[in-house]
Symmetry: C2
């Protein structure tokens, strides 16, 4: 028997296909994952190779060290092959039927550590805190730019998650427009707010805390859980308890707390599943909606344990071959 | 310099990242693709193994041959691990916050040929015609079932496209609900219709025919092109000239014509790119909207030449590293 579940926040239906169900441990990544060295001479993100990247726009580095030289702990550079053009003017749409814009945008790379073979799961808590702090600092700088409407922070871990460079890094893209899919998400959240007088993400977190079946971790500021209607096995949401639509509004305490939960969640995945590939997304409101009552920023972790195929592409409905209650229990065990 | 392009029908923005541009020939699949034998004794879809699948629900077979025995040219069976339950009653949503339904659905497999190593690109035109005919016949049977609201026909070619069995097959899933993403698509098409008094898919086809830069093939009944705002390199749309929202309404002549264009398009991809993995989707309106003026069914082919990563997952915006004008020229050369 299969069950369809609705994610109330994203309005996505998912199918829990128990006929195809796998036990949580069956998702363990095949062993024999390539071991990386701590330093890789040809890697443009390793210390000493700073000239192989565009100049740094920001860094946390030793007091007496210089830009684009070793001595950094975290380094932010423009992507060498940026998806968008930082020099462009405000987006202006042209074309009668075939609409196009040479929109301005920013595409930055946050090199999270000098060590080639680290990942959030194996970094020190201090390092993860600094990483989250840099996420926030870059966000705050870019949100001042009037040309940008939405800032996406993401991290691709592993080849199946779309990474091309193995050195640990996150990315940040500032977009000159709000994509339709985000607009739809906001509209659905707005409707929920109209109907219930509350934020659907706040309600979801409360309901997950009441159900207590899918919680991975909670602290004073965040709750991490495998959502009732998870798209993929081990999908994890890290939701701030405090209602807040925009990532840019978070406090220093929240940054620290976020780092703690993030590290814990990713360490568990690393240990229990053998370093699976994943995407990490900071989902935040468009800049103009950063103070709305109906939207709520959060971190979404999507492990790449299954391949979305034609059905998912054609319907937007995901077939999940595991039960979030079981994966959550497995992670906490 | 990068360019953002809007797909007027899906309302998706895509980024053509010319900084990262690849020449079309650079997408050729690495050689050394596994060669398959024409018959594979352990394959449940190969002739002689009919008992390894659930009983056939439909087949095109030799006159004096029997169900679940060899002699078939195309065979339709229920998926052994169906995503949905055919015995369930009409979907009824329950749960206060955590909405769930044990919705009814059908999940069928269309085994396209007895030959283990064929694909649409290498099948005879007659075989592809029969395959399209079976698509239509199963669609017509299932659309009569009052429990179903949307029928998705799809095909996963190759491992990166999510296939687990290599024997050529398509799949059909009848859903007891209309997913939000499809609803949004229809609403956007409706708005276009309100604004322009015409179907956005009809207009797009006309505009592509006028521009003549991205057309792959046209015949009396269909037009195939790489859309102006293609999500992925070599994305191809096969759009019927005749306005029609529902796949179930097509004529026998359209079936034949569809087969011809489909085979041509996939043969070209096969020859030019070396048998790339792809997903094929028959995108059609929910059953209740099958005669609407604002939606239009079509076939979408999405080659799996790049990996959607965190940015795509977080924004719904795709970064396409090729120009559809160039890929179309390359295919036609």
């Amino acid at each position: 028997m299969s069950e369809l579940r609705l994610n109330r926040a994203t309005k996505e239906w998912i199918i829990v296909a128990t006929e195809r169900a796998k036990r949580p441990h069956q998702f363990q990544a095949e062993s024999g994952k390539e071991k990386l060295p701590p330093y890789e001479p040809s890697c443009p993100f390793c210390p000493g190779n700073e000239k192989k990247t565009p100049p740094e726009v920001y860094a946390l580095r030793k007091k007496r060290s210089f830009p684009d030289q070793p001595g950094w702990r975290i380094r932010v550079v423009t992507n060498k092959y940026p998806a968008l053009d930082p020099e462009e003017k405000m987006a202006k749409i042209s074309g009668k039927f075939f609409r196009t814009t040479s929109g301005a945008g920013k595409h930055e790379v946050i090199i999270e550590t000098p060590r080639h073979n680290k990942s959030i799961a194996t970094m020190s808590l201090k390092q993860v805190e600094e990483m989250c702090l840099v996420y926030l600092r870059r966000y705050l700088v870019l949100e001042k730019d009037k040309r940008f409407k939405l800032i996406i922070i993401f991290r691709n871990h592993g080849v199946t998650a779309g990474t091309s460079l193995r050195h640990p890094h996150s990315q940040l893209i500032a977009l000159p427009l709000v994509p339709a899919s985000i607009r739809h998400l906001l509209e659905e959240a707005m409707r929920y707010y109209d109907d219930h007088g509350s934020c659907v993400f706040c309600d979801m977190t409360d309901e997950e805390l009441t159900a207590r079946k899918r919680i991975i971790l909670e602290n004073e500021k965040f709750v991490a859980f495998h959502p009732f209607a998870s798209r993929t096995p081990f999908e994890t949401w890290i939701v701030p308890r405090k209602h807040n639509a925009g990532f840019g509004n978070i406090s220093q305490d929240e940054v620290k707390s976020m780092a703690m939960v993030l590290k814990h969640v990713l360490k568990k995945l690393y240990e229990k599943l053998g370093d699976p590939d994943f995407n990490l997304l900071v989902r935040t409101a468009p800049l103009k909606d950063a103070f709305e009552d109906y939207y709520h920023w959060y971190v979404q972790i999507l492990p790449r344990l299954t391949t979305p195929a034609g059905f998912e592409l054609g319907s937007g409905v995901y077939i999940n071959s595991s039960l979030p209650e079981e994966t959550a229990r497995f992670i906490k065990k």
